[in-house]
């Protein structure tokens, strides 16, 4: 936070208070800068990539987030015991917990992020909006007030704003505690559900109402402020492709911004940041109407999931910038030094089943082959053998591609997704491909309701079912030979296969032939 004037404070050892892909990604920059990385580790994460990659590990007993990665006191005590100079919170978990940031500060540990005051000011969405309104940043019409406001008053306020409206958690983020209400009769249930979810997710049940902009775009600006009072933006990220208010595809530049609108919104983002004396990395989120009107949504006081698209088009390492600022140094550039180069897209790969209501999918990742090639970046939190559990976010990895133009970037992304092999859990790669191939997505005509309103066409499927059948047949024969009891196979422990079990001829050679494939008796035969 480098709050105390501009004194410089070298940081040598950093605790990353997070897990998964973001912990790994932050650690890479820190280690490249010569810092020592301390990782947190729950019981089941004992062999997780972020733990293996660290220089020191703090074990937190238990598995739920509440028992482990949210244990502020334990984490702080361990940080002190390990003699860390700073804590990087990543995103989620403690990243927007002002009390934690304050506790770090009080312990003489640098919190790599904004000041606790800025987190507080922006964490309360109601206060944030009022503050921005005062600062002259455009906001969406809405209502907020006492949490004990009776339903009939809320109903009247909702009518005044005009349906459809959004019920949102005051302490919210990430789509949690948010409900869309189309008609007055649904308001009561939505208020109850949003409050319950908000209480659970944030420990704060307060909600507020907001006008729902029809077919809006979600465009956010990356901001950076240093302790010397310099504030810049690193341009926008278009995050309109969302499912249940959760972003799944992001890109930069936004296909919908004109240079004039970009300048206007960038200026507003910087104005918003300055209004709260913002330091370190943050994101000012706007929604943009079809008419080009834009409204302040919220400020995320952390490094965002989708920060890599900004890194790809600005050729900057945002974690490195965060470190410079945390050490009390000033930003090494001004706004006029910055420009966007080319285009970047990010796709989020989730362990979920698009065929079955997107239910999260758990299990062991048996095969994991990320795509590789020029202009392709995969930020993964998993590897082959990782057990995807119910305890944490189901995001497996982020796939990011870059191109000179949006078209080039998009075709690289399509190729990269097609060459991503993840087996063992269900995931959304095919679903992402369907979006990337949608004609409206291709021309950049996207909005946050895209997935609700558009029909995704199945991708052209292979006609070569025999090839697939053959591969599965051989795998099955190999597997049935490698086990003693039928039906008790352990597909995931086959590394020793081939070296033993002389009785299974399918395991001996390296080659198999398909003699023929014909429809089974039961089907497909002319009667």
């Amino acid at each position: 936070m480098a709050k105390k004037g501009s004194e410089q404070q070298p940081i040598q050892k950093v605790l990353i208070a997070n897990r998964g892909e973001i912990a790994l990604r932050i650690g890479k920059t820190l280690q490249a800068m010569g810092k020592t990385v301390v990782a947190l580790c729950s019981d089941i994460d004992i062999t997780a990539p972020h733990v293996v990659a660290a220089n020191e590990v703090i074990h937190l007993p238990g598995n739920t987030s509440a028992e482990t990665y949210l244990q502020t006191e334990k984490i702080l005590a361990a940080a002190k015991a390990h003699g860390v100079d700073a804590v990087h919170p990543g995103y989620g978990f403690l990243s927007e917990n002002a009390d934690f940031a304050r506790a770090c500060q009080d312990s003489g540990i640098v919190f790599i992020g904004p000041s606790p005051e800025a987190i507080d000011a922006m964490g309360d969405k109601i206060r944030a909006k009022a503050l921005m309104q005062t600062a002259g940043v455009p906001v969406v019409p809405g209502w907020s007030g006492d949490s004990n406001t009776p339903l009939d008053v809320l109903s009247k306020e909702a009518e005044k704003i005009g349906y459809p409206i959004l019920v949102k958690a005051a302490a919210g983020g990430g789509g949690k505690g948010m409900r869309l209400v189309h008609q007055p009769s649904d308001l009561a249930a939505a208020l109850e559900a949003a409050a319950r979810e908000a209480q659970k997710a944030f420990g704060d049940a307060r909600v507020f109402l907001e006008k729902y902009i029809v077919r809006p775009r979600h465009v956010e600006f990356q901001i950076f402020g240093d302790a010397q009072g310099n504030t810049v933006h690193l341009f926008e990220r278009e995050c309109s492709i969302q499912r249940r208010h959760q972003k799944i595809i992001e890109e930069s530049p936004s296909p919908c911004l004109t240079p004039e609108l970009r300048t206007k919104m960038g200026d507003a983002a910087v104005k918003a940041a300055k209004a709260i004396g913002y330091t370190n990395a943050g994101t000012v989120e706007f929604i943009v109407g079809q008419d080009g009107g834009f409204y302040f949504l919220e400020v995320n006081t952390r490094l965002q999931v989708e920060h890599p698209v900004t890194e790809m088009v600005t050729h900057m390492d945002l974690v490195r910038l965060q470190m410079l600022i945390a050490e009390g140094r000033s930003l090494p550039f001004t706004q006029s030094d910055l420009q966007q180069d080319g285009h970047a897209i990010e796709c989020r790969l989730y362990a979920e089943d698009p065929q079955n209501q997107f239910l999260p999918s758990t299990g062991k990742i048996v095969v994991y082959r990320p795509p590789e090639g020029p202009n392709i970046r995969m930020d993964s939190g998993v590897r082959e053998g990782t057990e995807v559990s119910i305890f944490y976010d189901p995001m497996l990895a982020k796939l990011i591609t870059w191109g000179k133009t949006r078209g080039e970037c998009l075709s690289t992304m399509q190729w990269a997704l097609q060459n991503t092999v993840i087996l063992g859990v269900n995931h959304n790669a095919n679903f992402l491909q369907q979006i990337l191939h949608h004609p409206q997505f291709i021309i950049g005509n996207i909005h946050t309701h895209f997935l609700d309103e558009e029909t995704l066409a199945p991708l052209q499927a292979t006609q070569n079912l025999e090839a697939i059948a053959l591969a599965a047949g051989i795998a099955s024969l190999q597997n049935s030979g490698s086990q003693s009891l039928p039906g008790q196979s352990q597909s995931s422990d086959r590394s020793k296969d081939g070296s033993q079990d002389d009785h299974n001829p399918w395991l001996q050679g390296g080659e198999w032939r398909a003699l023929a494939s014909v429809p089974s008796r039961s089907e497909g035969r002319p009667s």
Partner: protein, 186 residues
Amino acid sequence: MSSAYKATSQASLHVSVNGAPEITVKLSNKPPFLPNGTAHYVALGGHEGLLIDADGKQERVFACLRDAQENRWDVWFQGATHSVVVTDPNAKKSKSARRDSAAKSASNSPDIKAPMPGTILQIKAAIGDNVSAGQTLLIMESMKMEMTLNAATAGVVKEIRCQNGQMVEMGAVLIQIQPDTTQPNT
């Protein structure tokens, strides 16, 4: 050792790809090709292989067992994952027996089961309650997502086998429903 075949083996398997009608695949672990032999496969170890067709065109392929009971495999081929069920008509347990046991376990039971592992958030029914089809009986959470579980059919709540805050496994019966037989059941 890769080319030292000790014995010739042949197998004939029934395979259904992505729910399509079964095809029979005949396999041999030894040359020669049949004149119309479609493909040959080179195992690359682990779960990876190469499929080479009669013209010499090759494709990478990955396979991973997803359900041992059903012998259901996920096969990655040409950029997509395919769900494949393999049955060996000569295996001891006959296909019809397997089908029967599968049918038994996945019966049209009106009981509320956990669609995935997770935590029970709220139970919205009590023993003895009359419930209607579609009525929300339970809210659970998994990986930070809430989901509601609804009655599939009208009936009476016979037993509640979970409590608030409890962690449950996938497929666990959470609420037992005695179906209402006076209403037409679909």
